[in-house]
Subunit: 725 residues, 2 copies
Amino acid sequence: MKSYMNELGIKKYSFGQMIPTDTILETTFSEVKSTYDGIIRRENNETLIELPLEKNDIVYGLGQNVHGINKRGHIYEAFCSDDPNHTPDKKSLYGAHNFFIIAGESSTGWYIDFAGKITYDIGFTYREKLVITLSGSDFDLYEITGTPSEIVNQFRKLIGLSYVPPKWAFGYQQCRWSYETDERVREIAKGFEENDIPIDAIYLDIDYMERYKDFTVDEERFPNFETFVKELKSEDIKLVPIIDAGVKIEDGYDVYEDGVKNDFFVRDEAGQPFVAAVWPGKVHFPDVLNAPTRQWFGAYYHRFLEMGIEGFWNDMNEPAIFYSEKGLNEGIAFVKSQEGKNLDIGTFFALKDSIMNLSNAEKDYKSMYHKMNIDGEETVVNHYDVHNLYGYNITRAAAEGFESYDANRRFFLLTRASHIGMAKHSGIWTGDNHSWWEHIKLNIQMMPSLSMAGFLYAGADTGGFGHHSSGELLSRWMQFSLFTPLLRNHSAMGTRQQEPWQFDSEVTNHIRNLIRMRYALVPYLYSEYMKANLNQSLLFAPLGFTYLDERSKGVEDQLLFGDELMLAPIYESNARGRHVYLPEEMVKINLSQYESIGEQGFEWLSKGDHYIPQEVDELYAYLRPNRLLVLTEPKNRVSQLNYKQLTVIGFVKDTATYTLYDDDGITQSFKEGVSTQTVFTVTKSDQGFDINVDTNVHPIGDVTFYLIDESGKTHVIKQSGSKMV
Amino acid sequence: MKSYMNELGIKKYSFGQMIPTDTILETTFSEVKSTYDGIIRRENNETLIELPLEKNDIVYGLGQNVHGINKRGHIYEAFCSDDPNHTPDKKSLYGAHNFFIIAGESSTGWYIDFAGKITYDIGFTYREKLVITLSGSDFDLYEITGTPSEIVNQFRKLIGLSYVPPKWAFGYQQCRWSYETDERVREIAKGFEENDIPIDAIYLDIDYMERYKDFTVDEERFPNFETFVKELKSEDIKLVPIIDAGVKIEDGYDVYEDGVKNDFFVRDEAGQPFVAAVWPGKVHFPDVLNAPTRQWFGAYYHRFLEMGIEGFWNDMNEPAIFYSEKGLNEGIAFVKSQEGKNLDIGTFFALKDSIMNLSNAEKDYKSMYHKMNIDGEETVVNHYDVHNLYGYNITRAAAEGFESYDANRRFFLLTRASHIGMAKHSGIWTGDNHSWWEHIKLNIQMMPSLSMAGFLYAGADTGGFGHHSSGELLSRWMQFSLFTPLLRNHSAMGTRQQEPWQFDSEVTNHIRNLIRMRYALVPYLYSEYMKANLNQSLLFAPLGFTYLDERSKGVEDQLLFGDELMLAPIYESNARGRHVYLPEEMVKINLSQYESIGEQGFEWLSKGDHYIPQEVDELYAYLRPNRLLVLTEPKNRVSQLNYKQLTVIGFVKDTATYTLYDDDGITQSFKEGVSTQTVFTVTKSDQGFDINVDTNVHPIGDVTFYLIDESGKTHVIKQSGSKMV
């Protein structure tokens, strides 16, 4: 083991020679004389790390995974998994995010830089221990001390800036497995128009492809795809096609033939391209763990970019395997061997398992091989040892493809499987959830962990992917997703249609109001998103990061959103309200309908516990003291939003300031600091409030200020744009 | 259709000629001139009933099923199902309980007397409608009006007295799949002794049998079973063996041979005994829908009764089918037919389904036939049409067997599958749940629905059956199960051991305290159980049954327990407290440890919302105004409990009275009113409190009264037994 330290005081312990994950930015770490003084044991081919847990320590992090904000009391795995049943006994979802914080009297953050499977037993087997098991011996361990916020800040500096999508990606997005024809997509677009509901993107799930072949379009279903893309673009709606990991084995299919010719596919033991089966039937997987394959695969995206497509979602990239050729043959042979026999019950279960366990089999992952360039040498690596890098790198291939197409432009990109190293390349959705109330809560609890791991652009399949949704479920879920950067409604084949107008007119009206409120919030959301990114802070934070009282630390169903708001979403069916804990006095804002802001009034609430009635068509958020919330007039597209009719809601005890960040929303120039900051300042004086808006960029128009003072009184002040230069 | 009315004003509508379920007591219904004025439609072979739902109507009932106390917003089925994954997308569990109440401005209760599958779409597809679909046309519909409590009361009068177990069944019970040998059972018993933890029963899961054959004992594992039963009995521990529904096909096995000889088994289309496979391998199912088969099967229980066994649990009686001979052959043939083919992905899923869907297949249920005596005629009935009666009647066979053995004695009986008609014959456990926090909540929410349906003796597999438990989970679950009549810890093969001492010493201590508190509560629990039974009221009630404010109606995670207590259990991991809504002022009682009652004090709490800290080793309950809670000194067996050291906790504003019911706990003589009522009365006076204990039966000993007045002050008054006659 070697020890290092960087200029931020982050300690790094290198055990053996890890397979590079390209997660950590090039940072200067100097070797120091020190040893890792925790407990590390080697057993068989595994490494065990033990960390002590104090009675009231909270464990934050692990990014995308099941259970609460506090991860304590369960066992988790970092092993990218295509498992659509996110039940409480699952240990792993689609991402492998090995960053966590043990927060207590003092707090320490840990990042384990490792490409293989890791298991975390967080106070489950032993209440006072966190036991980590790595499926290997070579890894880097980073130790960061400070407050939880400081730890996140330092860690995010290590991994670098997160992915920034084009600004339209903060609009509403509609998805379904599948809108199978151009006609169906037109109907959906028309549905939004007729119902006067804002939208910025419609997704194409796997059925747009010709026999599920990547980078093809089914010409019967989408006869003039390029024209169709332009048609929707003329309505300012983006089409977002899916790209899967597996490349169909089919003679004459260029991606397949080119990949075989150039040896770009993952290999089996015999050195032949590994044969798996997914949606297209039999496929090979691009060996994206090396740069030439990424370059090759990424360039195919240019085809769609040329047609005017501006974004993609990458799916099935854990990689998901329905079966391997070898596995299926073995399974069938076993079943066949039992024909006509009088099975004992154990053999029957073995027979069942032989078929049920064909998908995503560890055996298959262990039969796949990659070529990687490690320290300048081409090295053959077993897939199992680098499993968690696969989805990351196939999405990186897309990102690198975009860069080679137009380095200055932002493209939209989502992926299902991920690793922390990928946070700089793409956003994620939280995978194939269900229309279960429990999954609204899981969504709420996952957002801060994702923020910690650098996945700022994220959101769930709102309304639920699997199972059937109801109008009530969709309404309540939307009330939370309203605040998530990715706001996408998605549902699976065979489930109830869940576009906003599929329930009843009350639901349609409420969801229209919510999506309009989302668009009103886009300036604030975008501003907070970019600030969280540029300042390496959290977009969604557990209350315990900001408030140090014991009560706040235990809150599992409220979040801080940006620096101004606290959210207390409803995630239970038939609820007509909920308890809300206020760690300090706040003002309850009615966000049910943009048009009624101001009319509905604002309610000052004391620090402490409250029961807040909230019917299914009502949405509240909570504004912190001396904070301002800026809203704009909603439009039906993000591009139409402007700053001519602003509303500023302030809870002003003495002075409140808000800096509204903005940029062109299209290019990468924000990286060079090309952006605008409009500073709103409201100061309470004896006479009332002094207001100042410091902007020399935006053509700020009329601003209505709703200023609530400590007595709960609302002061309405209108200012016309001319006053502010 | 014909209409009837009984003396209670209950309306009955008879559609066609239903297959009798033997649910409703012989009650005089007179035919009246009236028609059912709701919406009924016939479509294909189904009957649809539509009931309107007002916006804020609550739907209570459906007994054992998923989701909340308010069933609105989901789809349910009444179809006894062996499905161990109780996820939110499930529609049915093990029971079929067709009683529900629509509660609103006015309330109506409905019981659908029908033996086949029923689907309930309760405001899911249409928010304002309850749509019921019956898989047939012949049924009776009962309509009951009144308050929800009155409706339950009338319905329960219709179905008659619920099952009453021997009193020892209110003690703690330990189960595991499996304690496989007598030696292992001894170890478990010793574990309780060494840890000084009360216990009354240990269960034997399937492995005690010889090759899973009902009414046999494996002589290698339990070499002298009868002696062993007596050995445990000498320690006052009851052994509770399992009996499964399927009878193993094995030459020389008397139950099998006798059943075949007498045509006592369920038949297939060809009139041959139907062949299914479950734990023993291939089996036949006793055709318990006719009395001679029940009498035959029930008599086998006498074998164990003769050996000193006093109770049983009946399992796998939906009936669960792992596969049928025919189904398996078809599945294997299909898989085999795909050998060597290049499967498209649809065919692959069909192949997977052909094996995965072998268990509990509708096709199999539709291939099974029963003989029933209907109106004096032997009638052949397809199993699918009477599916929900199977578990009920095989358990009824046991109950009838007990009666023929000793009609005056109570025997212990639990079943997994059930129908409301069975509530008079047996208790139920809530099936194969998981060690999921969500299932504690499901347990809480299910108890009142079970009470409504007459299943007073009920409880969950505390700690969770499937998946692995943690000390924290078991502790929190025990804090609720403490109050359920069935208090059984049960876990599955392959999961972490979860006997009380399997975690750490703090958990062991806490669980010891909880179980001791349970024994202290047995007099109260038994008294409330019997009163709920004899008075046809609820043992567990939703707050909305007692309190008429809107807030109370919406509470989904607090219950009234008996007439005195309100429970607000914790069901979330890492919780250190919770919000509690008090519909009226109450006194918080610390039930964490019997020895500390009084020392810990009591806290008066105002009506309204409170946040109550409650660490993992703390348990609170809430005492209503002018109510008394009686506890006794805990012992390690129910039989050792006495009334020599009583504690009475009272929240006395003016006068509080409690009538403590008791009886011999062993015989059926309570049905003739043989019981004792001890009446405690406390009246507040200017000088303090006047206390009266009216008993001429129990040898009441020292009683310590902790009396809390409106100011929150606790008055401790000790009375010696001599004063009370």
